[in-house]
């Protein structure tokens, strides 16, 4: 969908969102809604972060603060609405009673406005300075806001605030369980965030942002209104983050400062775009889906501390090895293999690389889980072996996309090792889901090993000097 216009793109994205909602509803598992909500929330946060961080090159460490501002604006309005007679002068009680309590879509808009204003203020205070100072100032902002909230008794202070989630949401024509309603709203927010990001990317605004990222001084000298553009970016980015936070109190049910300002939000909203790729709207989307889902799996199987460790290590690995993220790797690969059109060979190799990457990541998660299960030496040993093999898989994925000479051999070896392993796993755990997965892997492994031996593939992975001579 290279040249689709924004309204059409919005409709397509909305259709995808609607399909997602219907599929999740058809599966009808409450956990899926809770997990999906978190992943979608990360899509919004990552996309919002990327508008400032990826497009303008200004790192915001305070995503959690904007998120929390959204969440706490909901708490404030909720509390005001719960007992208007106590907080408003007599003349205003009637007005307050009719206006409050607000429904969630309105709360989201309010949160967006509040967080956007805070974004504007932060930008105004700090954007005259070099990039690093902005990053540190956002960090400072997060702590100042957290201290204010901790000391603000009205919203519960450090004790936190309870928000009772209603049973159902009555939308007029249909009664949805509340978690489904929240999930639906988050889908809508993600669609909006992604569309906005894509729109910015293709507009004059986006080009302005890119000039700031590439060389702010030169841009300013050419007459680009850098300060104004940066203020626009902080405002939009902050507003979207606040909007992502607004439904959070209803989702979590009990909001306390340390959960609203959790470091997980700050880290994830940086790591996801960085891993996905910062220059395109798909980057944060890919990163958020990938990391969000892995974290859901890791939280269930291991612990929430370990999933943050995985995110941190992935972030470090990607900024060192693949600075342009997944999107950058794929782009470079396509440019090198199929400059003019998308051919079957390039697509197949990309599919193989993504397969290796996903298996490798999954293996890391399960390897860590097994390795950390203290007390069972055999299981721990298996975990460590799985970890090593997964790292090899990750190296394969990297090598294959980078067209490294050694990668086909390494991949063949790694897959060759896994083929007998699949049989072992089937023997260890003969339940049907596991067998299905293992048989699938087996088929893919064998097909891949065969495919990598083809001549046209081998030609691609010759040393660079030979490749030049050929063409």
């Amino acid at each position: 969908m290279g040249n689709v216009r924004s309204p059409v793109f919005f409709l397509i994205a909305a259709a995808v969102g609607a399909a997602l909602f219907l599929v999740t509803r058809a599966i009808d598992n409450d956990y899926l809604f809770f997990a999906g909500y978190t992943v979608l929330q990360f899509i919004v946060l990552a996309t919002a972060w990327n508008i400032l961080g990826g497009y303008c090159g200004y790192v915001n460490f305070g995503s959690a603060a904007f998120f929390a501002v959204g969440a706490y604006s909901t708490v404030t309005l909720h509390k005001l609405g719960a007992n208007p007679g106590r907080y408003f002068p007599d003349a205003l009680v009637d007005v307050a009673q009719t206006v409050l309590p607000l429904n969630i879509p309105v709360l989201i808009v309010v949160a967006g406005i509040v967080a956007g204003l805070i974004g504007l203020g932060t930008g105004y205070l700090t954007l005259r300075l070099r990039g690093a100072f902005f990053a540190i100032a956002t960090l400072a902002l997060a702590v100042v806001l957290q201290t204010l909230i901790i000391n603000w008794d009205f919203v519960g202070g450090s004790r936190g605030a309870y928000i009772i989630r209603p049973q159902d949401a009555n939308l007029g024509f249909v009664n949805l369980p509340y978690i489904q309603w929240l999930f639906l709203l988050m889908i809508l927010l993600s669609v909006i965030a992604v569309t906005v990001a894509r729109m910015i990317e293709r507009s004059r605004l986006g080009y302005g942002f890119a000039t700031i990222r590439d060389d702010e001084l030169a841009a300013e000298a050419c007459g680009v209104p850098t300060l104004r553009l940066k203020l626009i970016a902080t405002t939009i980015s902050g507003a979207l983050m606040g909007m992502a936070g607004a439904p959070f109190p209803y989702y979590i049910g009990y909001l306390e400062p340390s959960s609203a300002f959790g470091l997980a939000y700050a880290v994830n909203s940086i790591a996801m775009p960085m891993i996905g790729g910062t220059t395109l709207w798909v980057g944060p989307l890919i990163g958020a889906l990938l990391l969000g889902i892995i974290q859901q799996i890791a939280t269930v199987t291991i612990s929430s501390a370990v999933n943050l460790l995985i995110v941190g290590l992935l972030l470090i690995g990607f900024v060192i090895m693949a600075p342009a993220g997944i999107v950058g790797l794929v782009r470079e690969f396509l440019r090198a293999t199929a400059p003019s059109r998308l051919d079957a060979r390039a697509v197949t190799l990309l599919a193989i690389a993504s397969y290796c990457f996903l298996i490798g990541l999954g293996g890391v998660v399960f390897g860590l889980a097994a390795a950390m299960s203290a007390g069972n030496a055999a299981l721990a040993g298996l975990g460590i072996f799985a970890l090593v093999l997964s790292l090899v898989y990750l190296a394969c994925a990297y090598g294959l996309t980078k067209l490294e000479v050694w990668s086909t051999l390494l991949t063949t070896i790694a897959l060759g090792v896994s083929i007998p392993l699949s049989f072992v796993f089937i023997w260890l755990d003969p339940r049907s889901p596991n067998v299905t997965v293992q048989v699938f892997c087996l088929v893919v492994d064998i097909a891949t090993v065969w495919y990598l031996q083809r001549d046209d593939v081998k030609r691609l992975y010759r040393p660079l000097a030979e490749r030049r001579v050929m063409s």
């Binding site: 090159g57 790192v59 300075l129 990039g131 201290t147 470091l263 960085m274 941190g312 900024v319």
Partner: protein
């Protein structure tokens, strides 16, 4: 209620002592961020790492935490040198130090914290040393040794560093690399080597600061986070490059924080540093002693 003079004076003394300690915490960042322009936001994580090393050695061998820190200085120096090498090859050389370098250090901060969390859990850890529970009473002023010892050693350390930077050849080269890398190259000095040495020194100070920290207060892995703001607030307020400025800013912040904690309650204290930082950045980005 009349003005509690004794409380006030004690708060100021506590603040002065705290400030001395803050100077040791900040000096590493003053070198890496102020002089080398490397935004090492992971510095507090290394400080906490230093605290935990002091804790382990203190628990198993009963060794004094500050002595331990001096013993592990070379290890931290080597750690710093290798981190700089990675940073240089992956970011500085490619000219991508701004965005990705920051993300790199953020990742380091995070990974270190989570590793400590996984190994040691969220319990507060503390150390034992003969001087920790003693207090030197001077009239109505209390000088607790657990504050006094770190403060004195920290100021001595800063003095030594200042001498090193201004008197020795390498030290002067470090100051020069921040001003003009090319000129340094023309003097036949490898600027990368000088930067590596400087960054390694900055990480080495974290070992000491970590030992001071665990002498002063019990430590758990996420304590480092509140130091990020303090460290950068002091560093910016002090005018980035000057160690004297760092000491003055550290003492100023220590006193203000101590007064805030005494008269408004400790829950407001973290905001002081960050408030300071925001105001400095907004109104006097060159720092107190800046030109």
């Amino acid at each position: 209620m009349d003005f509690p003079l004794e409380l006030f004076i004690n708060a100021i003394i506590a603040g002065l002592l705290l400030g001395g300690f803050y100077a040791a915490v900040t000096v590493g960042v003053s070198i890496s961020f102020g002089i080398l322009d490397i935004v090492n936001i992971a510095h507090p994580a290394f400080i906490i790492l230093g605290s935990y090393i002091a804790y382990i050695v203190n628990q198993t061998f009963g060794l004094d935490p500050i002595l331990t820190a001096f013993l592990v200085l070379p290890a931290f120096y080597a750690l710093g040198a290798s981190i700089y090498q990675v940073y240089h090859v992956s970011f500085e050389k490619r000219g991508q130090d701004a965005l990705r370098g920051l993300a790199f250090f953020f990742g380091l901060l995070f990974v270190t914290e989570v590793m400590l969390l996984l190994v040691f859990g969220v319990d507060y850890r503390y150390v034992q040393a003969p001087y920790i529970d003693q207090t030197w009473k001077l009239g109505f002023a209390d000088l607790p040794f657990r504050m006094l010892v770190p403060c004195v050693i920290s100021l001595a350390l800063l003095g030594a560093l200042q001498l090193y930077l201004s008197r020795t050849f390498t030290g002067r080269a470090i100051m020069a690399v921040s001003q003009d890398q090319l000129a340094l190259q023309l003097m036949a000095i490898d600027p990368i080597r000088i930067k590596r040495i400087a960054f390694a020194i900055s990480i080495a100070t974290a070992a000491l600061a970590g030992a001071f920290l665990i002498v002063i207060q019990p430590v758990e892995p996420s304590v480092g986070r509140e130091y990020i703001g303090r460290v950068f607030a002091i560093c910016v307020l002090g005018g980035l490059q000057s160690l004297t400025g760092t000491v003055i800013a550290a003492i100023l912040l220590g006193v203000v924080e101590s007064l805030t904690a005494t008269f408004y309650g400790p829950s407001w204290a973290p905001a002081v540093a960050f408030g300071f930082l925001l105001l400095t950045l907004a109104f006097r980005p060159a720092g107190l002693l800046g030109r």
